[in-house]
């Protein structure tokens, strides 16, 4: 499902961070074209 898909990632520091989501998406063959990690504090 992720293979070959262009993916925008929205992470959050105290939930799941952008880099953690990115690593998962890339390992499943997706291409991350935008990534951000929010910090609400």
């Amino acid at each position: 499902m992720l293979k070959g898909k262009k993916v925008a990632v929205f992470g959050e520091r105290d939930d799941v961070s952008g880099p953690a989501v990115r690593k998962c998406v890339e390992a499943a063959g997706g291409e991350v074209i935008y990534e951000t990690t929010s910090c609400f504090v």
């Binding site: 520091r13 961070s17 952008g18 880099p19 609400f40 504090v41």
Partner: protein, 494 residues
């Protein structure tokens, strides 16, 4: 006296103050940006501000200054901002750890924080009768000097042309903050009125905290050897934006004539990093008495204001935080600050962005070094953001999330089972009670409560866990974490 301190230093005293500045909320980063987009937002902000009495009696604020324990706060039904909740106890401005400072008193201190000619801060003569006695009659802050006043007419034009920002108390113009209008300052965006107000707010609130620390300890200012600040401001001009100098400017303002100082920067983990540095300097014998000072953050005022305006709730992120801690050699009574090798938790670069790896380093490794289990710690203090501020803005209860993380680590360490997580969290946890002031809520507001409980023999160990969103500097993906442990002194326990 039994000394089990291993040559470790102690955190001997603290001060924890709040500065209620509703009319500076408009200069917080978020409100300021929204007001620039739509000027009608200013009226919405103004209509949602709290009176001093409401901020003063607000249970989380009373917890911050020590009149309520975190346990007592957690027993109070929410919402805490309701009039009924405010009525539940008196409205003491001062508590065991410090004071809730009013805006007019703060403006007086802000004026004293100015050292430039022409002055960066002017106070209007029209407010003199109100402001002057607040400072001159103050039992702790009256030593600050430099308070003077000038007719509002003399700076009105600068406000009108935008080179100075007005300082209000409600509708009354109390003064202004100027940009650096000297020849070398005029072209520098880092020296505009707003940026200088940020730095001056940190300096003035930090000086309030240090003055309170000296007062509580009964220590002469000249007896402080070194001051370390840990705020999130970036003072400096175009060639050295953020270069520091905050600590020494605060030491100067408080009359610490024998001290020097430096600024430690580590985002929200700044106070923890500064305390570790202070502790190491004391343990190594370099300095005897080191004060760690955290002034407040203007930028974070009103960070969540939109949710409050929308929901018809008073803007609750309307206070600057101000804290100071005194680190000295073991006095046989105060809580031991563990600094044996390996006992300070740190998020190693090699842990990357993996939460599990980071939390193993932050919690399990230091405990192993001390020969302890997670369940041997009475209380864990993570970032202590007031949930009432966070939740309304859809940011979730950060404190709760941190306790889930801590409890999950206890499951990973096979000390508790997954079903035991809620009960474990109840035992080792507390509600958040600090305003969203970045480094201010970062675990350290529990130090006052821990010092008190440990000296009264009610608590053995507390672990402090601080997190820092380093990635916000756009230079790395990493975040940082720092943890440290305080333990009741054998002298106090017996």
């Amino acid at each position: 006296m039994i000394n089990t301190g291993n040559g470790n230093p102690v955190i001997r005293n603290c001060s924890q103050c709040l500065v209620h500045v509703p009319d500076l909320v408009r200069y917080g980063s978020k409100p300021r940006r929204e007001i620039q987009k739509d000027t009608s937002v200013l009226a919405q902000v103004a209509a949602s501000l709290r009176a001093f009495e409401e901020a003063e009696r607000y249970p989380p604020n009373q917890t911050f200054i020590g009149n309520l324990t975190p346990d007592a706060l957690s027993a109070l039904p929410r919402p805490w901002y309701r009039p009924e909740a405010l009525e539940q106890h008196g409205r003491p401005t001062t508590g065991p750890f410090g004071e809730i400072i009013s805006q007019d008193l703060f403006y007086a201190v802000l004026k004293c924080a100015n050292v430039l000619t022409p002055a960066l801060i002017e106070l209007a003569a029209e407010g003199r009768e109100r402001i002057e006695p607040l400072l001159n009659n103050h039992p702790v802050l009256s030593p600050f000097d430099g308070l003077d006043f000038t007719a509002a007419g003399s700076f009105q034009e600068e406000i009108d042309n935008g080179s100075a920002l007005p300082l209000y108390s409600g509708d009354a113009l109390r003064g202004c903050v100027r940009r650096d209008n000297r020849a070398e300052g005029r072209e520098d965006d880092n020296l505009d009125a707003h940026t200088l107000l940020e730095a001056l707010c940190t300096k003035a609130s930090g000086a309030i905290a240090l003055q309170w620390l000296l007062h509580r300890e009964g220590l002469g200012a000249e007896e402080i050897d070194y001051v370390i600040t840990c705020g999130e401001e970036a003072a400096g001009d175009r060639y050295q934006r953020g270069a520091g100098g905050m600590a020494k400017s605060i030491a100067e303002m408080c009359g610490c004539t024998n001290a020097s100082g430096m600024d430690v920067k580590n985002f929200c983990a700044g106070p923890a990093s500064a305390l570790v540095t202070a502790g190491a300097l004391v343990k190594a014998g370099v300095y005897e008495r080191v004060a760690v000072v955290a002034g407040g953050s203007l930028a974070k005022l009103g960070m969540k204001f939109q949710a409050f305006v929308e929901l018809g709730i008073p803007i609750l992120d309307d206070c600057l935080g101000a804290m100071a801690f005194l680190v000295t050699a073991d006095d046989g009574v105060s809580p031991i600050f563990h600094l044996e090798p390996g006992t300070i938790g740190l998020a190693k670069v090699g842990s990357s962005t993996s939460d599990e790896a980071v939390y193993r380093e932050l919690i399990l490794k230091p405990l192993q070094k001390l020969g302890l289990n997670m369940t041997d710690v009475d209380k864990y203090a993570p970032e202590l953001h007031n949930p009432e501020i966070m939740e309304h803005a859809g940011s979730g209860d950060v404190v709760h999330k941190n306790y889930r993380m801590i409890a999950a680590m206890a499951v990973m360490a096979k000390e508790i089972g997954k079903p035991d997580m809620p009960a474990f969290m109840d035992r080792i946890g507390m509600p958040g009670f600090a305003p969203t002031q970045g480094h201010i809520p970062s675990a350290v507001p529990f130090i006052g409560h821990a010092l008190q409980a440990m000296q009264q023999g009610e608590m053995r160990r507390a672990m402090f866990l601080c997190k820092a969103s380093l990635f916000l500097n756009r230079l790395t993906e990493l975040y940082d974490g720092v943890s440290f442990m305080l333990e009741a002194n054998a002298g106090a326990r017996t």
